[in-house]
Symmetry: C2
Subunit: 334 residues, 2 copies
């Protein structure tokens, strides 16, 4: 072995520093659950272009805002929205304290196990169930019931906790974007208080990056000097449809450069994100897999995808075909 020169030592030290302290640029596949093809290439191409310093499409890290719908985009939403499943389960659990429910719809149907009857009660009946299960308690108490339900409830089709029915390819996409300096937000029609207790563990998205629908909350300082926030039976903000750009403006205050949705409720969010100068990206998760998940779009009562599907081609939005683009749907069982 030759005696190394001073210069080669410095070079060696530098190299070792990169190995020890560097951010790790190993060429592993960040999206292993995505099949090779146009969808995956479109995503990685956009991320490459927008993160290449000096490139024409470079986006400064501070402007790398990525917004994701939740129901049907990050997790499943069939046969009923999971938050509604939570509400029905909660109402059943509360029933012993409410003997009057035995004689009043929609609770009578609910307690008889007749979910179709409950749904037939329409907006008014479902509104009553949402009110008794989502309001009248403190925000802390509500978060506790959400956590307990997430830990114990099982989805009827898959017999898994609801928080495991998240889309593995989308979880990878979130992580891939974050690894490339994007800040990931949920922008969902679902209740913000329902999502915050579990989304950090499921998606790596902290509570302060969750935008959702909300009810009025009031502050009280009791005689015991313990302040509480109480959830009132009054809707405050519906973060759906045209409410999504409004929610993005209110909570984030920047216009996103990346958006993902799955239904017409996301249409305005996709427009707001993409119909602007500079590099923009939008994708729609198209539920095409009746075997591994569900297949539905234009005629569905849940997650109806009709106008946004028509608009996608002329807007240049990527339509992800769940059946062909995704190797797996859900994370492997623990």
């Amino acid at each position: 072995m030759n005696r190394p020169t001073k210069g080669s030592f410095v070079a060696l030290i530098f190299l070792l520093c990169l190995v020890v302290a560097g951010p790790g640029h190993a060429q592993t596949d960040a999206l292993p659950s995505w099949n090779e093809g146009a969808a995956k290439t479109a995503i990685t191409g956009f991320v490459s272009r927008t993160t290449q310093e000096g490139g024409a499409d470079y986006v400064k890290p501070a402007e790398r805002i990525a917004v994701f719908d939740n129901d049907g985009t990050l997790w499943s939403e069939q046969p009923i929205y999971f938050q509604l499943a939570f509400a029905l389960d909660r109402a059943k659990a509360m029933a012993p304290e409410h003997p009057e429910w035995n004689d009043a719809e929609p609770f009578r149907s609910l307690l008889a196990g007749d979910v179709k009857g409950v749904l037939a009660s329409g907006e008014k009946g479902l509104g009553e169930i949402m009110a008794v299960t989502h309001t009248g308690m403190t925000t802390d108490a509500f978060a506790g019931t959400v956590r307990e339900w997430m830990a114990t409830a099982r989805h009827p089709k898959f017999n898994r906790p609801y928080s495991e029915l998240i889309f593995q390819p989308m979880v990878e996409l979130l992580g891939y974007l974050r690894a490339n300096g994007f800040k990931t937000f949920i922008v969902s029609g679902g209740g913000v208080e329902f999502m915050r207790p579990w989304v950090e563990q499921a998606y790596g998205i902290p509570p302060e990056q969750v935008v959702g629908s909300s009810g009025v909350v009031t502050y009280e300082l009791g005689p015991d000097d313990k302040p509480v926030l109480k959830k009132e039976a009054k809707v405050e903000f519906v973060d759906d449809g045209p409410g999504k750009p409004v929610g993005i403006n209110r909570f984030i205050g920047r216009r996103p450069v990346f958006a993902a949705g799955n239904s017409d409720g996301d249409l305005q969010m996709l427009q707001w994100t993409t119909l602007n100068d500079g590099p923009r990206f939008a994708l729609i998760v198209h539920h095409t897999d009746a075997e591994r998940e569900w297949a539905y779009d234009r005629q569905s009562h849940i997650g109806k995808l009709d106008k946004a599907l028509d608009e996608a081609p002329r807007r240049g939005w990527l339509v992800v075909d769940m059946k062909t683009d995704w190797k797996v749907i859900y994370p492997a069982k623990q």
Copy 2:
């Protein structure tokens, strides 16, 4: 020079790696504009305790949420709230397009340079000025007028841009907290759309970490396929007093461990932050310096500090005496 051993080379490389890549733990003073004393020691003691892994008061990075009022806490608020100064200037600039204002209060007083007359028009008159200057345009257009005003307007007492009348000691405190893993948020009674265009440069706080009062905004996609958000003349949320814990819950979704305010409008935010288990910290900026800034508290119409000042001792809140605790008030002139 002795021939170095292999072991000593490895040690050297490690040391150099720490120097090149380490987070930099040089013992420089992160709060140079704070005089040595009880206030500074209380702040650095809290940060040391809560960031010491394994310590009894350790707070996980994700929970290190720090909230700051803006008017009177991060910048001055005299002789009138700076957002009101913006509104008056804007109304004057808009006057040529509104000849009808010559005969109608509060605009007649405003155009005659009679600010006292304007203020005498009370909530109704000021509401009209706020409405014409803050609504009826797109969010982008409004942000543009805020930026232009910040670049051109000068404070009457100091003849400096308003964005330079920020408190240097508080800017250092924000940076010190962030360097220790805290996430810093503004939680202000001021308008969120008024703050977002300039707070990132002034305080290092990005738009998505600004909570404030807001008006209703609506989404529109015009025939030119350019979506806009329009600011409507309807108040949506007042982020003041009991509204501050509500705003914190809605926008951040975590309970802070650190809060700073200066008036009774911050009382509930300080309670919500501190009246809870675990290590908590609250401070009140007490305006005691009539020479370098202003001196006011219990009797002031702006930034009234009365109840919170009474509560501070029994809650253990730090009352910062601007005159004795701060070496300088504002950043040095550029």
